[in-house]
């Protein structure tokens, strides 16, 4: 029953060629944006539940792919610009901006998204990008926390995330107590929830490449987040996507930023290791 999305590989090239922003496909047929190649398929290491790790990009239509491959048309860039502006805006009692401590984001933030979530010794828990940004705001800047799904937070996570675009997702699950969180995430990934009694794995591991009604199921990878979703007409966080999936199976979703969703995020990052960061990706 499964249609492997390989049939889209040709589409990637075509999409890249028609994109107006000068995107071009490299010799290996992988998509690229302004010369930065996106690894959308990587071989899984031994002991990984998948044989091939595939980005959600490969499951989308040529049109949606073309939007992602062209920064001028990618609607996610409105949020990126918001983040870029906030980067150097002084806020809070310490009279500082992100830039005061971190300087040029294209240097200091390179690789940050690719390694999230990351163990934070002081907090005694993993930090997602949102957690780190809020810790900087409250502890370094004397500013208020941003709400998880606020435009300000989406803008900053998109801007910081963009600095890692093309870099392989590589989360460290050995430091601190990351292993425990990874285990918890793994357990949640395989737990059936809701009236429909389904687990993430039912859709994204056993059925990727199959249509579920009108939707082509992907592996549910996290490398494109925050992502501009056409259905939302907006950029959204990974935890918003988790909530959407839980709503669909008539489950009471966990809260954004909850331990459960952070654990799932850590596990998903591990499942998606080696895929390029695509932030800000475009999905339908």
């Amino acid at each position: 029953m499964r249609k492997l999305p390989g049939l889209l590989a040709g589409g990637v090239v075509a999409a890249a060629m028609t994109a107006a922003g000068g995107a071009s496909a490299d010799e290996t047929n992988l998509p690229s944006i302004d010369g930065v190649t996106l690894q959308t398929r990587v071989e899984a290491p031994e002991g990984h539940p998948l044989t091939e790790i595939i980005s959600g990009f490969e499951f989308r239509t040529k049109e949606t792919q073309a939007l992602e491959l062209d920064d001028f048309n990618n609607p996610g860039f409105l949020m990126v610009e918001l983040g870029e502006e906030a980067w150097s805006t002084v806020e809070g009692s310490a009279g500082k901006s992100c830039e005061s401590c971190h300087g040029d984001a294209s240097e200091s933030m390179r690789g940050v998204r690719a390694a999230m979530p990351k163990w934070n010794e002081a907090a005694g828990r993993p930090f997602t990008l949102e957690n780190q940004i809020n810790a900087c705001r409250t502890e370094q800047m004397g500013a208020e926390e941003w709400k998880w799904e606020s435009d300000a937070m989406l803008g900053m996570t998109a801007y910081v995330g963009l600095q890692s675009r093309g870099m392989p997702v590589k989360v460290d699950i050995e430091s601190g107590e990351m292993r425990k969180w990874w285990e918890k995430g793994k357990e949640l990934y395989h737990t059936r929830f809701g009236q429909l009694d389904m687990a993430c794995a039912n859709c994204h591991e056993s059925n990727y490449g199959n249509y579920i009604r009108a939707d082509l199921l992907s592996q549910g990878q996290s490398n494109g987040f925050p992502t501009y979703r056409l259905k939302w007409q907006k950029m959204g966080s990974l935890h918003r996507r988790f909530k959407g999936c839980m709503d669909n199976i008539r489950a009471k979703a966990f809260k954004r930023g909850s331990d459960e969703f952070v654990a799932l995020e850590a596990y998903l990052a591990w499942r998606g290791q080696g895929l390029s960061v695509e932030t800000p990706a475009v999905r339908n």
């Binding site: 029953m1 249609k3 009236q195 009694d197 859709c203 249509y211 009108a214 489950a251």
Partner: protein
């Protein structure tokens, strides 16, 4: 076909649900040999209503996962489950009823939801808590429709 499950079924209590079920709620039924031989409502279902309930995204939404030639006029058939063409040749009425009520009794660990079950779930959304997806009448209607799918 369901030999693997015999043991687990035999181990279960044979009566499910509350004896005093409301119209919306679960009705009691008896599993005999991995099947449900007796209509949940005591009456035969209506195949036309069943076809509608099967297609309706808020009810069966069976096309999320299945396809059927008889439903070719409907958009967006899923690929998660097998085609429903010829199910009436493969299963008798009592087995079809079991499949719709709780397919996990026939296919252990299946992704297919149990459509007439109201407990044993994790974190059900408040608006659906304690309710089955399909009422007893809707189950009978869907079963009546499935019985028309012969090849």
């Amino acid at each position: 076909m369901n030999a693997i499950l015999r043991s687990s079924i035999a181990g279960c209590a044979l009566l499910f649900g509350a004896a005093t079920a409301s119209a919306e709620g679960l009705v009691a039924y008896e599993i005999v040999d991995g099947t449900i031989p007796v209509s949940l409502t005591g009456k035969p279902g209506d195949p036309e209503a069943g076809r509608a309930a099967l297609v309706d995204r808020k009810l069966g939404n069976c096309l999320a996962c299945h396809t059927a030639t008889d439903l070719a006029d409907e958009q967006f058939h899923g690929e998660v489950g097998p085609s429903l063409d010829g199910v009436a040749d493969r299963w008798d009425e009592a087995s079809l009823r079991m499949l719709v009520v709780n397919a996990k009794m026939i296919y252990e660990g299946t992704v297919m939801p149990a459509f007439h079950r109201d407990a044993g779930f994790n974190r059900v959304m408040d608006s659906f808590a304690g309710k089955p997806i399909l009422t007893a009448q809707q189950v009978e209607d869907v079963v009546a429709y499935l019985k028309t799918l012969k090849e």
